[in-house]
Symmetry: C4
Subunit: 127 residues, 4 copies
């Protein structure tokens, strides 16, 4: 493995439980409540990822375009997305990610609404 | 992807660790202890999902009928189910979900029995 | 599904991160730190599950025999296993479960060593 | 199973969300914030695992060599890796693990930056 960098993973991924907790306790930005998609592009080609946000009561929003260079990790807070629109806080959503090369996606939330932060994480669903 | 909406996921899903913590700390309903199934119907057809609850000491209860429109997320607190019966709090259970179209299911619990909330989440098991 | 009960899942499962936190805060047994395997036998036949505990420095211990009736959930705290031996607290371990019929296994830990409990959960690895 | 020890799992694994929280609350080493890969080598042959760390802004670092004897669990804190280099705290990363025999990998983080610890865990992605 030290001399080649094979692509690893799937091109299509789903996060079903999206939610940005609307309050936070503790110093920003580290302890700010957030929802993240943590992505690895292990391969030798740069990745372009289209992310779509699905809601309960309206049409999906997107595509958000994320670029991950070859052999790089990219941890993206959903809080920080703004084009084509900010993702509202305190609202249920789901995510679909489509990459042009295989990647791996893990979903993590930090919730600091109460005095100590809570964490949750899962490998996303490879479609 | 911007012009078509393919269905994504599996029709059958299992959550093995079901439990609604019987106490809560903090403002309701946000910080109320709960167990949720977070579902995405990414496709172009509406989904009808049958949910069954399995217990330790008695026959399964169901079906609970959940409808998820095309291209919509639906996060369902188990606490809020009432037909055919409320799911008891403080009792171990498991869930089987069967959809008529592919969906993706993630299981999340918020436990606020103690002073700060705890979270756990996992993509459910696609059967 | 209301008239038949198909078996769902895999016969072989692995939990790699086993650990029983050695201290607890809050009322027992609910808030006692514990590691659990939460199992669903969705099918029409009773299941017999052999569980083996693997350690860092010594040979595996087992089999622990767990019986799950047809159409039943069974959430087993590792803390409560005693035959052939209690699983030590504060020690790293992994688990292999082998069932004679398909089941689904989810691994959950409650850690109440500090003032508020922490939770983690994941669907186990279906071998 | 009591008389043979089949290998279980995959040779290639990915953890996308790597992060060592840079502060801790509570007694070391138990409550020190850490990121871990918990591995099981269930089989009859010793395993040699190459671990690579991928970053956001620079080339991957590795290989870190981890040896897991036959029929043994090995829980490795990323904090404790030092050859070829310590993994920096407070920095986003991803992990690729390649074993010469099948293993199972689970990723767990303990975050004690605030007053009570938070936990998250997921079975890693089998490539």
């Amino acid at each position: 493995m030290s001399t080649d960098w094979p692509a690893i993973g799937s091109k299509d991924w789903v996060v079903a439980d999206g939610y940005i907790p609307p309050e936070s306790t503790g110093p920003a930005p580290d302890m700010t409540s957030h929802d993240s998609v943590c992505m690895l592009n292990a391969g030798a080609q740069d990745a372009v990822v289209e992310l779509w946000v699905y809601f309960t009561n309206r049409e999906p929003s997107g595509p958000y375009i994320l670029k991950i260079p070859a052999r790089r990790a990219h941890h993206q807070r959903i809080n920080d997305l703004s084009d084509p629109a900010v993702v509202p806080h305190g609202v249920d959503y789901s995510l679909v990610l489509r990459s042009d090369v295989p990647i791996v996606v893990q979903h993590t939330r930090l919730d600091s609404r109460q005095a100590a932060n809570a964490l949750m994480s899962t490998i996303a669903y490879p479609a």
